[in-house]
């Protein structure tokens, strides 16, 4: 490779983004375009008995009102959340029961407000408890992980352990809230459907639309040129795209559906609440004998999604006796789904907090405790790691952070009204990769064109893939153009699971390397249309590996807790990662820091409440659901090790989009304990909880 990979190349679409000319899904001018506004169900469970649309249709500018009585019939989707306006059932509050299509946004909103819906309501149950009678053990958790794993005799070993921690944690529901709400514009023309959508993967959107509308995929084009974030919530098609396609077909007009922010929590997935019980038993030397992580979570009545929060405990530490269990209750709640690092984010919060408690119990440094429990092979599978440099991350992080000489005593560092503390936590995220195709073309003018239906949701995919291609071709970066974000391009998987760059990059690498070979054997000038090479990594990218493949990291946090108010401020947050080869230092840093920022939100500010009486999330807007603001983020640093791993993909890269959030909340929570001596086991650590904890400590 010639050296594009790893360089801090500037984002290719950067200029468009800073000048405001980058167009997102709702921003393509389209003559005659109509706007649509959905109507959410006002009850938590029941059936629609009548929809009175007369007043809505009388609103000037309203073109149509779609309800389950008149909406186009769809084939049954695999994803039940997309069976929109197909029947009278209301599976949860906020489920869409009508869609108003109008000439303007104002008319659409006024029309939606004028729709009168009558319901036959049924008793609902939305409250998750550990002892909920409906709790069951599913067949598997998200990602295909078995719900239960057990080795040895965890209970016996726990009882026999010299040092024991038996604790419960709770992570509340969390919302992805990408800055661009889920938006789609659809247009039908001559039996063909074209869609601009805000999605992490247009291939899946096209496949789902083809199924729902009974169209061959060749007659559907889906593009997502720029996507205003997703964080998992745009990983699958969402109601906006189905509703837009229905409304466009029904009205014969292009239609944009931009979901109102307040409606997102109910219809685009959320991180389900998780109740954790951790039991750690260790010898006086700190070596774990027993590790049990049991998770209880919720899902909706229509779709089983089980946050795989006990899975990281199968990867992290050597404990000969262990048990990991997932349980779930199906409630009358919105369907949960992916949110940045599903499983790892809440699971590692609990595991890494419990480990900190064990360190306190043992009187051992929490970095050393982790080092001492470093496994030789992946504990659950027994497979060797393709690479694992957690210990090096911890050591390097400790060095950079100034961890050495830390006074372990909690609650003793005071500066005026502030209590100061530091904390550490480990991070992990699995390496995922999927088959992809790509083409590379050499043009007579000496430039190259790489085409692949990757999606750039802000990760810098365009830039990084061009770097991979340039190196495989052995040419300077500026000679490589790249096209992404459309189903007209060679098919590729979604931007999700931190797998995008690995999956796409592999195909781009193979296409470009193949083209380079072709060019090497080509004599004379290129033909006018250039020379092409197509790659398909099926069979290679999806081959089973003999190795356990994960990225690892370490997080260090310094906090100040105000004893007057209970407010927590993070003065420093530092992450060190071992994530294979870093392909673009500039965009990678932004991703790591971004993940850590979301982790800071998870620790301190973000949380949502399921209202027992009404069955919806109370914090439904951005004034009440507190994503961190500028002022919350003082110093965040991300560093990485030069990790070489030849058992991954041709670039030697691991995913980096999610690991930044994993462990951050635990590091901050552990620092809050170190600062105050109070162990708070429910997130987020808002002033009400922290202050109450401080007062309880005093009495």
């Amino acid at each position: 490779m010639t050296g594009s990979v790893g360089a801090p190349a500037e984002r290719r679409e950067g200029r468009e983004k800073v000048s405001g000319t980058a167009r997102y899904a709702g921003e393509f001018p389209s003559p005659g375009r109509a706007q649509a506004w959905p109507v959410p169900a006002g009850v938590a469970r029941g059936r629609v008995t009548a929809v009175d649309t007369a007043a809505a249709l009388a609103v000037p500018g309203v073109l149509a009102v779609l309800t389950h009585e008149n909406a186009p019939r769809l084939a049954e989707p695999d994803d039940p959340t997309l069976a929109l306006l197909q029947d009278a059932r209301v599976p949860h509050r906020g489920w869409f029961v009508a869609l108003v299509v109008a000439e303007t946004l104002e008319a659409a909103r006024a029309g939606a407000a004028a729709v009168r819906v009558a319901y036959a309501t049924e008793e609902h149950d939305v409250t998750l408890t550990g002892s909920h009678p409906g709790v069951y053990v599913p067949e598997e958790a998200n990602g295909g992980h078995p719900a239960v794993r057990e080795q040895g005799d965890p209970d016996g070993a726990f009882d026999a352990s010299a040092a024991r921690v038996d604790v419960a944690y709770r992570v509340p529901p969390l919302h992805n809230h990408p800055m661009e709400p889920h938006t789609s514009t659809a247009r039908w023309e001559d039996g063909r459907l074209s869609v601009h959508t805000s999605s992490q993967g247009t291939g899946a959107v096209r496949a789902v639309l083809a199924g729902l509308f009974g169209l061959p995929e060749e007659r559907i084009v889906v593009t997502a040129e720029h996507v205003g974030g997703g964080f998992g919530s745009k990983g699958t098609p969402r109601p906006d795209v189905v509703l837009a396609a229905m409304a466009a077909r029904e009205t014969g007009r292009p239609v944009t559906v931009a979901l109102p922010r307040r409606y997102l929590p109910a219809v685009v997935g959320h991180r389900a609440p998780t109740l954790h019980r951790l039991r750690l038993g260790a010898g006086a030397d700190g070596r774990l004998a027993s590790l049990t992580h049991e998770v209880t979570t919720h899902t909706s009545r229509i779709k089983e999604f089980v946050e795989q929060a006990a899975v990281p405990a199968r990867v992290m530490y050597a404990a000969p006796h262990n048990r990991t269990v997932h349980r779930v209750a199906a409630l009358d709640v919105p369907s949960p789904s992916w949110m940045r690092a599903p499983g790892e984010a809440p699971g590692m919060y609990a595991l890494e907090s419990a480990l900190d408690e064990l360190a306190t119990e043992l009187g051992m440094d929490p970095v050393e405790l982790r080092v001492r429990n470093e496994p030789d092979v992946e504990p659950d599978s027994g497979r060797p790691f393709s690479s694992r440099h957690l210990v090096e991350c911890l050591r390097e992080g400790a060095r950079r952070f100034g961890w050495a000489g830390r006074d372990p005593r909690p609650g003793v560092r005071r500066e005026g009204p502030l209590l100061l503390g530091t904390g550490v936590a480990a991070a992990t995220y699995p390496v995922m990769v999927g088959p992809s195709t790509a083409t590379a073309r050499a043009l007579p003018d000496g430039s190259f064109l790489v085409r692949i239906n990757a999606t750039d949701i802000g990760t810098g995919a365009r830039t990084v893939l061009a770097q991979v291609g340039a190196d495989a071709l052995g040419v300077p970066l500026e000679r490589v153009r790249i096209e992404v974000g459309s189903t007209e391009l060679p098919s590729a998987p979604l931007a999700g699971g931190s797998s995008g760059t690995a999956s796409w990059g592999w195909a781009v690498h193979d296409a470009c390397a193949g083209l380079a070979r072709r060019l090497a054997g080509h004599a004379g000038p290129l033909p006018g249309q250039g020379l092409d090479h197509r790659a398909d990594t099926t069979g290679a990218a999806d081959a089973e590996s003999d190795f356990a493949r994960h990225a690892f990291g370490a997080h260090f946090a310094e906090v100040a807790v105000d004893t007057v108010t209970g407010e927590v401020r993070v003065g420093r947050l530092l992450g060190v990662y071992a994530a294979g080869r870093i392909l673009n230092a500039r965009t990678a840093r932004s991703q790591f820091v971004g993940g850590m920022t979301m982790g800071l939100g998870m620790a301190l500010t973000e949380g949502s409440t399921m209202d027992a009486a009404f069955g919806d999330f109370t914090e439904s807007d951005l004034a009440s659901y507190h994503v961190p603001v500028h002022a919350d983020v003082a110093g965040i640093e991300a560093h990485w090790l030069d990790e070489e791993d030849s058992r991954l993909n041709p670039m030697g890269s691991k995913g980096i989009g999610e690991i930044g959030i994993v462990g951050t909340a635990a590091a901050i929570g552990n620092a809050v304990h170190h600062a105050t001596g109070v162990r708070l086991r429910e997130l987020p650590l808002t002033p009400d909880r922290v202050l109450t904890g401080l007062l309880d400590r005093r009495t």
Binding site: V18, T21, P60, P178, R261, R586, T587, G594, G595, A631
Partner: protein, 178 residues
């Protein structure tokens, strides 16, 4: 369509060009920019003044364009991210735009125009002596407020960024402080 008393003619100067439109009174500036003028740089993140993605400058002051009825802005001067550089075509970026590029102060880009317009407003406000929540109350009133990192962070807190580009944004703004 519509009752005449629910629509009015309004004239705005947007990025230096006058526009006279008959607007539905319900039309907010953000929708006017995006739907009527095809200026989609100002973004709709929440539509309720809770995210800052729609930030533009009206008569030189940063505001949430989602909360301003266009009819009430008759005669106002509006500057959006597209017109920030002042050269009309946007060929030569504004120093803030260049700094955001150089610092990689964004990822998905959706909050970026709002961050940039907001930062432009911040620079003007600080120069005009507007204090912030973190300004020392003992600082002399009426004097320009020096913008350190903490000031920048506080003053930009009305612009959410879910990708978490905050540290880079603060650095970018710091780069253009005169």
């Amino acid at each position: 369509m519509g009752n005449l008393q629910h629509r009015s003619q309004t004239t705005l100067r947007v990025n230096g060009k006058p526009h006279t439109l008959t607007v539905d009174h319900r039309r907010v500036l953000l929708d006017l920019l995006r739907e009527d003028l095809d200026l989609t740089g100002a973004k709709k993140g929440c539509d309720h003044g809770q995210c800052g993605a729609c930030t533009v400058l009206v008569d030189g002051r940063r505001v949430n364009s989602c909360l301003l009825f266009a009819v009430a802005l008759d005669g106002c001067e509006v500057t959006t991210v597209e017109g920030l550089s002042g050269d009309g075509g946007g060929e030569e970026p504004h120093p803030l735009q260049r700094a955001f590029l150089e610092r990689d102060a964004f990822q998905c880009g959706y909050c970026t125009p709002g961050q940039i317009c907001s930062a432009a407003g911040v620079l003007a406000e600080a120069a005009a002596g507007h204090p912030s929540h973190v300004t020392d109350p003992a600082a002399p009133s009426g004097e320009p407020v020096p913008l350190d990192r903490e000031e920048i962070r506080e003053r930009l807190s009305g612009n959410l960024c879910r990708c978490g580009a905050y540290p880079r944004i603060a650095e970018a703004v710091e780069d253009v402080i005169p």
